[in-house]
């Protein structure tokens, strides 16, 4: 039970107004925030964004640090983006020149700009995934995508597959742990040896894991059919999603931010712009 709650995505299970928002609202507003990130033209705009997500984190009862943590896996891409833009931009006034290395003010601006953009995209998504459980997310996605059913897009099937996959990740992790221990009890060695030896050592782990995954899939399909599952047609929901007043306030807040950011691009003197 404990293992399960740890591994379910990065959902941070606490009570808050933001957790209670309709998942559809959160998905759409996250998209709006991403658009906002692309509209930012100056450091003032990024400061506004930062203030907004900080406030959101406070309201959501989620440690701000946890939100920043999402950036960590991206650090190499971030550094790469920064360096590439810094060294390979040739337009603008030269700030520094040495042999074949040329730094321009334009390059510096661009590299700061792109790295910040990337960081904020990740932070905005984290805001959503930290406050919305994976099941709610796939529920919300299903409804948002359902208009596409007109062009035979399998919205229900996709959402169902997502929920099932999410449901079984912890189970498979537990199973992996168990089989690994069982083979270690028979002297299996997963830790030492060269690459080939290690790949070979995985066989006693992977075969039982696949066997059990297929067995589980079969069992699940059988159990679903036994309970008359026949696809999304005419299916009602256990958790009915409903927009509330809080959803409206959230939308207004994001709209306000968007307006501010658009204005900022227009009003600030040219020197401030990135």
């Amino acid at each position: 039970m404990n293992l399960k709650s740890i591994t379910l995505g990065q959902y941070y299970p606490v009570e808050s107004p933001i957790h209670r928002l309709d998942p559809r609202t959160k998905i759409l507003l996250t998209l709006a925030l991403m658009v906002a990130v692309f509209l930012v033209r100056s450091l003032v705009g990024y400061a506004l964004l930062l203030g907004f997500v900080y406030l959101a984190a406070r309201i959501a009862n989620v440690p701000f640090k946890l939100m920043m943590k999402g950036i960590k896996p991206l650090r190499f891409i971030l550094i790469l983006t920064f360096l590439l833009n810094l060294f390979f931009t040739t337009q603008g006034n030269v700030l520094f020149h040495w042999q074949f290395i040329t730094l321009t003010d334009q390059g510096l601006k661009l590299s700061v700009h792109y790295s910040l953009r990337l960081m904020f995209l990740v932070i905005c998504t984290s805001l959503m995934t930290l406050t919305t459980s994976p099941i709610q997310l796939s529920d919300g996605l299903e409804i948002l995508l359902s208009p596409l059913k007109a062009i035979h897009f399998p919205a229900h099937e996709l959402a169902m597959m997502m929920s099932i996959a999410l449901r079984f990740i912890p189970t498979l992790l537990e199973e992996t742990d168990k089989i690994m221990k069982a083979q270690m009890a028979r002297g299996a060695d997963f830790e030492s040896g060269n690459l080939i030896a290690r790949a070979k050592a995985m066989v006693p782990l992977l075969v039982p894991l696949f066997v059990s995954a297929f067995r589980r899939a079969g069992d699940l399909a059988m159990a679903m059919e036994a309970r008359c599952y026949h696809g999304g047609e005419g299916r009602t929901r256990l958790r009915v999603l409903k927009f509330t007043r809080a959803d409206l306030y959230a939308a207004l807040a994001v709209a306000g931010l968007l307006v501010l950011i658009i204005l900022e691009g227009r009003l600030l003197p040219a020197g401030w712009l990135l």
């Binding site: 404990n2 293992l3 709650s5 740890i6 168990k178 089989i179 221990k181 069982a182 083979q183 270690m184 009890a185 028979r186 002297g187 299996a188 060695d189 066989v203 006693p204 075969v207 039982p208 066997v211 059990s212």
Partner: protein, 285 residues
């Protein structure tokens, strides 16, 4: 080979919001030649305890001493020790992976670094121990066998390493009575031949019949430990631990409550039968 648990405590997910104490301050010694039964309600920590016996889990605090040596100590070859203390997991049939039964059983002995002939001899011996006909089954795929047969292949896979201590986590779970008797017969035979056995079980009848000692766990703590006679005469303690005593002990208690003069510590059917017969004969005279 003796195994001593000293103040063993195990905490899962330490340092997170999901922290849970699975074992708390367990002191227990398993001596050479013991048949120790580990009993307790679901989730009381039996599987967790069992995985400490061969170093698959490391204690959060406390020690596991094997022949006086700390399992978590520096320079201890845990992999080698693991093969001397054979552990059969709950539902071991799910760990089979080879193309043939013989190859799967050979996995352990091969990891011991034995020569091909020795491995082959051990596979044959282990299959004989679990009553699987070599001619008939050696070349079959383990995935074509019945659940009970798969279970026996998995147990043979551990026996083929010829462990000094055999630890089994609910070896009879999910088997029919016939399959259960078969597995228990195999374990009984091994114990008679001198293997030390630790067995997790939910069947007090099996425990009464086989064990020389019983340890009762409840909510991660060791509630009591002693011979089956000592343990099964303490009905209240067993009820508190969420367990029943063997049918015979319960019947004996009811008869005593009804005023029939019987010894208080009977727990096997045969004993009860003999005592009743004796009383009946005395009464008849």
């Amino acid at each position: 080979m003796s195994i001593e648990l000293r103040h063993l405590t195990h905490v899962y997910a330490e340092g997170s919001a999901f922290r849970s104490v699975a074992l708390e301050d367990i002191n227990l010694t398993i001596r050479d030649g013991d048949f120790l039964a580990l009993v307790g309600h679901t989730g009381c920590g039996k599987s967790t305890l069992v995985q400490h016996l061969n170093g698959l889990l490391t204690p959060s605090s406390g020690q596991v001493l094997v022949d006086g040596e700390d399992l978590a100590g520096e320079g201890v070859n845990r992999r080698a020790l693991r093969m001397k203390i054979g552990l059969v997991f709950q539902y071991p049939e799910y760990q089979l992976f080879e193309e043939t039964v013989a190859k799967d059983i050979a996995f352990g002995p091969k990891n011991l670094g034995l020569k091909a002939e020795e491995v082959d001899a051990r596979v044959r011996a282990a299959m004989a121990q679990v009553h699987l006909d070599w001619q008939k089954y050696a070349e079959r795929s383990p995935f074509e066998l019945s659940g009970g047969q798969m279970r026996r292949v998995a147990i043979a896979g551990v026996l083929a390493m010829q462990p000094e201590v055999l630890v089994l986590d609910e070896p009879t779970a999910g088997l029919d009575p016939h399959g259960r008797d078969r597995i228990l017969g195999i374990i009984e035979e091994l114990h008679r031949q001198g293997t030390t056995v630790v067995m997790v079980s939910h069947s007090m009848e099996d425990v009464a019949r086989l064990a020389t000692r019983v340890a009762v766990l409840s909510h991660g703590k060791l509630l009591a430990e002693g011979t089956p006679r000592e343990i099964f005469s303490r009905q209240e303690m067993m009820t508190e631990a969420g367990l029943a005593v063997p049918e015979a002990a319960r019947l004996c208690a009811s008869l005593r409550a009804a005023g029939i003069d019987l010894p208080a510590d009977l727990y096997t059917e045969d004993e009860l039968y003999d005592s009743l017969l004796k009383r009946w004969k005395e009464a008849g005279r």
